[in-house]
Amino acid sequence: MFTSNVPSTNSPKTSRDFGKIILSFIHELGEFLFFTREFFHWLFQRPYRSSLIVQQMEFIGVRSLPIILLTGGFTGMVFGLQTGYAFRLFNAGSFVGSTVGLALTREIAPVFTALMVVARCGSAMAASIGTMKVTEQVDALTTMAVSPIHYLVVPRVVASVLMMPLLTGVFIGVGTFGAYIVATGLLNIDPNAFMQKLTYYVDFDDVFGGMIKAAVFGFFLSIISCERGYKTTKGAEGVGLSTTQAVVISSVSILIVDYFLTSWILEFFSGDM
């Protein structure tokens, strides 16, 4: 009566399984590109949903501030500590300012901020859109002559692209401040020398490059998360799966995109240096 199915033992991966994985990857990638195309199609359509955008900006920007302040501050402090100890060995303590400044603006701040926003907002985007999908609310939008991409996806992506650079700026600010506190207060590095090296080595291009990165990360993390949510099937379990996928795929993508962006930015900006 209640004979349970014996779980089939995992068969060893054959080349056929591997082929299947590749095919499904290509399939998913194609779907994603199609989704992105639809996003751009709806991006500039009226009506511009400014109140939804503002609402999302509040969610992504304002309400991420505490976590960004916290992670930014401590990252800067740790960084200040590590580089301070190392540089002091060579009597080059003042270089903490420039090192931390450059690392923060170019890499750490945009990447860390993006990862924090993925964890906080990317997951929420996938979960809320996913829930709407499996409860037919997305279909309901469609039947009411409202494009779900226009109503749900565009505001989230736009808000994310706009807020990521700001959050990154905050991260840079508190990070540098944290490093400054540790370097000058704890490691007795000369505050003037710290500031001098910081301002000498970190220039506008570095900050600008970091902001561009942040905006690009903001685009990828939000569109990936929305796409995962939008493709949700199979009820509550599906929503959980989409949320996990949104976080994992966004995070990995950010690091991959970062590599290519970095090489592009280095080439682009070192040309006129």
């Binding site: 639809e38 199609h41 359509q45 809320s128 829930t131 709407m132 409860t135 037919e136 609310q137 279909d139 309901a140 469609t142 039947t143 009411m144 002559a145 409202v146 494009s147």
Partner: protein, 254 residues
């Protein structure tokens, strides 16, 4: 009479399961058409094809002379302004209050003032007997209440074509009666200008045969009977399932 909706040889499968199997039929304009059929036979799928939530694997669905799938994304979205739809699951926006749910299509597609929106929403909510639940959110409502809010939302813009997926399932007999009446009246109200076409999925055979202009019976992916209520009563359809499905209903009525 010019048909409002035409199914032309429509086939739809999910994996290996064929849900709609080469279906062709017409839904007349300005009439109330009821789709009957056993559970899980594709009634909701059929309805979703009318509004383009699902795309036929084969064949065409023509609405008001237009094949939805020959339109661009933007045009298709625009075209759906003709419709109002009540989902089987009601599909209310769970982050919005009852008021905001019903106001949603009005806000989206008209430029009415806040006052006008308010009176319109109240009017629709009164029709479904829910003017008191205006500030509740969907998770605070019972299933039947959600259905009724969904109904108010579907008729909010007084669209040209109304699709109802089991509007009275889960309601008590009195409420069933008044919702049936509401659908009937909504359909008749503008009938003079020949404007409302209603398609109702129902399990309620009794009232179906009372209010419907046209009855369509879906069975195993095909339309096995399609005609006026009288055609059914007079035994025009010989398919054995028609008799089985309607058994017990006509003896009482006739």
């Amino acid at each position: 009479m010019q048909p409002m909706i035409q199914f032309q040889n429509v086939t739809k499968s999910f994996g290996t399961q064929v849900v709609l199997n080469h279906i062709s039929f017409e839904i007349p304009a300005g009439k109330l058409t009821v789709i009957l059929g056993p559970s899980g036979e594709g009634k909701s799928v059929l309805l979703k094809h009318i509004i383009g939530l699902m795309k036929p694997d084969e064949g065409k669905v023509i609405v008001d002379g237009v094949d939805l799938w020959s339109l661009s994304d933007k045009e298709r979205t625009e075209f759906r302004k003709k419709f109002g739809m009540l989902f089987q699951s009601a599909a209310l926006f769970d982050s919005m209050t009852v008021f905001e749910n019903v106001a949603f299509p009005i806000r989206e597609h008209t430029s009415l003032s806040e006052e006008e929106i308010k009176s319109k929403v109240l009017e629709k909510l009164k029709m479904v007997g829910l003017e008191k639940a205006i500030d509740k959110i969907p998770s605070e409502l019972s299933g039947g209440m959600r259905k009724r809010v969904g109904l108010a939302r579907a008729i909010a813009l007084e669209p040209k074509i109304l699709l109802y997926d089991e509007p009275t399932t889960g309601l008590d007999p009195l409420m069933t009666e008044s919702i049936n009446q509401l659908i009937y009246e909504t359909q008749k109200k503008l009938n003079g200008q020949n404007s409302v076409t209603s398609v109702v999925i129902s399990h309620d055979v009794e009232s179906t045969f009372r209010v419907a202009d046209l009855v369509v019976l879906l069975y195993r992916g095909q339309i096995i009977a399609e005609g006026r209520p009288d055609d059914f009563k007079n035994g025009k359809f010989t398919h054995p399932f028609v008799k089985e499905f309607l058994r017990g209903h006509f003896e009482k009525n006739i």
